[in-house]
């Protein structure tokens, strides 16, 4: 019974991700004065897509239909490392956040390869832009987590979370602010949200993620969409875990777990609201402005690391 709790955490993120996406689009619609689709719409989409047949270009290689599944598997495996209700995730060892970054990189690598196998121009275009964005995003991603890890003097996600639990919310240190902003920018860039890439558009000039999944259809497209929403859920849970873990259950008794679940849901809703507000207020950046955006993110990440040396240790 005791070892099942972490598994439940993982299932919550995996199956809750489409709901998260629905909530975000609902909130965005509301903010823009629209009725917006129902919160459960993403589940309907996935169900529809799973029933459809999978269209494969004539000259595509087996990698074309295997890539979406590998992307989904890698992202789902990454979820196993994220603490949700409890500081301890399913797997934990020193340096596991590097493994997290690695798994996300594995997912992205096969996403780009699957896109290029389609044989069309859009796959290559999406792939090349994704390559640039992810190349520039990986440094601030790691620098952010490193800064927090140095403050917590532990290289394990669980260790960082337990250390942050021990701190009180109000004496927030500069390192945390800088690290949070860096990681937030990276989260936006990684999941292809508005300032970097518009998830809902099919405009050639701007789309990055959509361009890659253009050729896929049926179950492959379902897996890709699902993996993308899991990634969003995963990154937001990581942010919560690293910066606002208060409310996570220490023990295993039922009431404590219920409280933790409630706190997690509330925090996730708050983040969704923030994300929706940002998306509806900021216009999408030009393609060649993205490197500067990520440059700022890496600068803040580096500054966070530098401040750990001078700041409160």
């Amino acid at each position: 019974m005791r070892s099942l709790i972490p598994l439940v955490q993982a299932l919550v993120i995996v199956f809750g991700a489409p709901l998260l996406r629905g909530v975000v689009s609902k909130l965005k619609a509301r903010l823009q004065g629209r009725q917006g689709a129902s919160v459960w719409r993403p589940y309907a989409d996935l169900g529809k897509l799973f029933r459809k047949e999978d269209l494969v270009p004539p000259l595509a290689s087996p990698l074309f239909w295997m890539a979406p599944r590998i992307v989904f598997a890698a992202t789902a495996a990454a979820v196993l490392l994220i603490p949700v209700f409890q500081p301890a995730a399913v797997f934990g060892s020193p340096g596991d956040f590097v493994l997290l970054v690695g798994l996300l990189a594995l997912a992205r690598f096969f996403l780009v390869l699957g896109a290029m196998d389609g044989g069309g121009a859009f796959g290559g275009m999406g792939g090349s832009r994704e390559a640039l964005v992810s190349a520039l995003a990986e440094a601030p991603f790691l620098l952010g987590i490193t800064a927090v890890a140095i403050m917590a003097r532990s290289t394990q996600l669980a260790g960082i979370v337990t250390w942050t639990l021990g701190q009180n919310f109000f004496d927030i240190s500069a390192v945390h602010i800088l690290a949070f902003s860096a990681l937030a920018m990276v989260a936006v860039a990684e999941t292809g949200r508005v300032p970097v890439d518009n998830p809902t558009t099919h405009l050639e000039l701007t789309m990055i993620h959509e361009a890659m999944v253009l050729e896929h259809s049926g179950p492959s497209l379902a897996f890709l969409e699902w993996a993308n929403s899991i990634k969003l859920g995963l990154l937001l849970s990581l942010l919560i875990g690293l910066f606002f873990p208060w409310g996570m259950a220490a023990g295993f008794s039922l009431p404590v777990l219920a409280l933790a679940a409630g706190a997690y849901a509330a925090k996730m809703a708050a983040l969704a609201l923030v994300l929706a507000a940002v998306e509806s207020s900021v216009a999408k950046m030009r393609m060649y402005a993205v490197p500067d955006f990520l440059g700022i993110a890496s600068a803040t990440g580096a500054l966070a690391v530098v401040f750990t040396a001078f700041g409160g240790r």
Binding site: L103, A135, A147
Partner: protein, 659 residues
Amino acid sequence: MVWSSIALAVSLVGFAAVIPAAWIAARTRWLSWLPGTTLACSLLFGTFVGIVLISSTRPLRLDLGVAPFQFGIEIDPLASFFLILICAVSLPVILYAAAYLPRHYSPVQTQWIWGLTSLFLLSMALVVVASTGFAFLVGWELMTLLSAALILVDGTSKERLHNLFIYLLMMHVGAGVVAASFFAFLPASGGLHFSALRASGALLTPGARSVIFLLAFVGFGTKAGIIPLHLWLPKAHPIAPTPVSALMSGLMLKTAVYGFVRFTFDFLGGGPAWAGYVVLLAGAVSGVLGVLYAIGEHDLKRLLAYHSVENIGIIYMGLGAALIFLENDAPAWAAVAVVAALFHTLNHALFKSLLFLGAGAIADATHTLDIDELGGLVKRLPITGIAFLIGCASIVGLPPLNGFVSELLIFQSFLAGSTLAALPAQVILPLMAGVLALIGGLAAACFAKVYGVAFLGRARTAAAESAQEVPPMMLSGMGLLAASCIGLGVFPRLALDTLFSVAQTLVPGSSPPTEIAGLQRILVATTVAVLGIGLLTMAARVRRRVTAPWACGLPGLTTRMQYTSASFSKPIRAVFAAVYKADRKLDVLPANRPYFPSSISYRSVRTTSFERSLYRPMTNVVVTLATGMRRLQTGNIQVYLLYIFLTLVALLAMLGVQE
């Protein structure tokens, strides 16, 4: 101990026996497998010697005669690790070569290549096990000479000769500097035996220590390909026969790493205080610039050569971190950093050889190495495609493979840097984690480009269209390397435990910290998770229909619509334009009526900035000095007589002054 010396003797005889075997093989049809198997046997024995000695406390010491200078062999754990690396990694390459050579070269050329390759491997082994300065330098220069001979066997066009000339010249200068670093010990150590050097290392003056360290850094840096000294690497590796360029890129660079480690850790015991930072920064610069230059390339072998520069940069970052830990007396983490660097050396040897062999297979099937002329190869060369994919994934450092494990260890040692007392170490080491992540990201972009353009999508030329799968021997070579990449990726303890015992000898008083122990458990767990979920998703029976994709209303997708390597890397090259400084040439014909062009031609040539700004001025200085000297020889006898009288008068005047 007796067994290892017998095995060593047998492997030496084996190396030498390859030459007559190659000679016989060239003459008879059915004996063509002979040189390959002899070489393979001697390599097996070499690996056996390495394995036996890597964990033994007493190194095997042989003094082979005094001749003019001591010529001895000593195999201690560090030497045996590199011996294993050289012999084990070259086994699959030999397997590959057995099938590759007859298909590409005439029997005589094959005979030459077999003979020279076995001597090449022997010289590398000699460098690694040498125990005196003289033996080391003999092996060091022979290695360059034999690789140059191997390049010459492959062809002698003007452009190849120019590249070979640059390669040989830089290697000779590097060897000169290495010799100087050995000789710099002489005033203190008397002899050149490693034990004498080790003893005198401690009692060197700080000035001498930093001079020797700098000489060793520059000397071995030239051979390893650290950024300002890397000019020869993308010129020399691509022009060698494929199995040889795999050996050169995979193993020859490692002998430079071995030399550097032997000097800084074993002789100088960590070098001067600032040594770690120099090595760290040089590694970082080499890593970033190496991968950026690789992104701009579309010739596969040259791209892989630039990636060697990048990976050597990563290894040097690990060594730099180890030196900094040693300086701030944190031996435990110093050992981890050294182990990380050595493990990345082994991994790089594996996946770089795999990638070069893959490139050779592509060249064998399509007779071209320009990835813009390939495309859709994974359908026609399935097994090569899979092996190349594993190679690409591991060089980029994706989780289930060995590249990721060594980069993870290096990340951890960077993180541990924050616990050091010295302020600069606290700041620089964690920042290097960001640089390493940037290198990893750019490498992912580069290899996504290579694999996507070359193996996926539609075949761009008839050659790519009609490619045939390569013979099974070549596939088995690549398969062996791919399997070892996966094996070390999922079960790193196979190598890490022995590597820690090697690190003990280099960094005294260090026990492996606890964090590393749990590493293998989580790697196995995540791999099982990924495979499980993956299989789960693929289990569902899916109706699949093949239709032509939507081509925006055009009759059909043509191959020209696909992204080529230049277009794929355009965004990154635009962002890092400062590095490329490509000079573009756009000419529109006819010139006077620009708006009605009959033909437009665009050419963008990227000359490496180092060649223009650093190397050409140096050579110009020497050549102008020489032509100036030529005028001394005027041809007029009276001037010659004047030279003699002037010298005499000058010397007499000097004598007069001295009085």
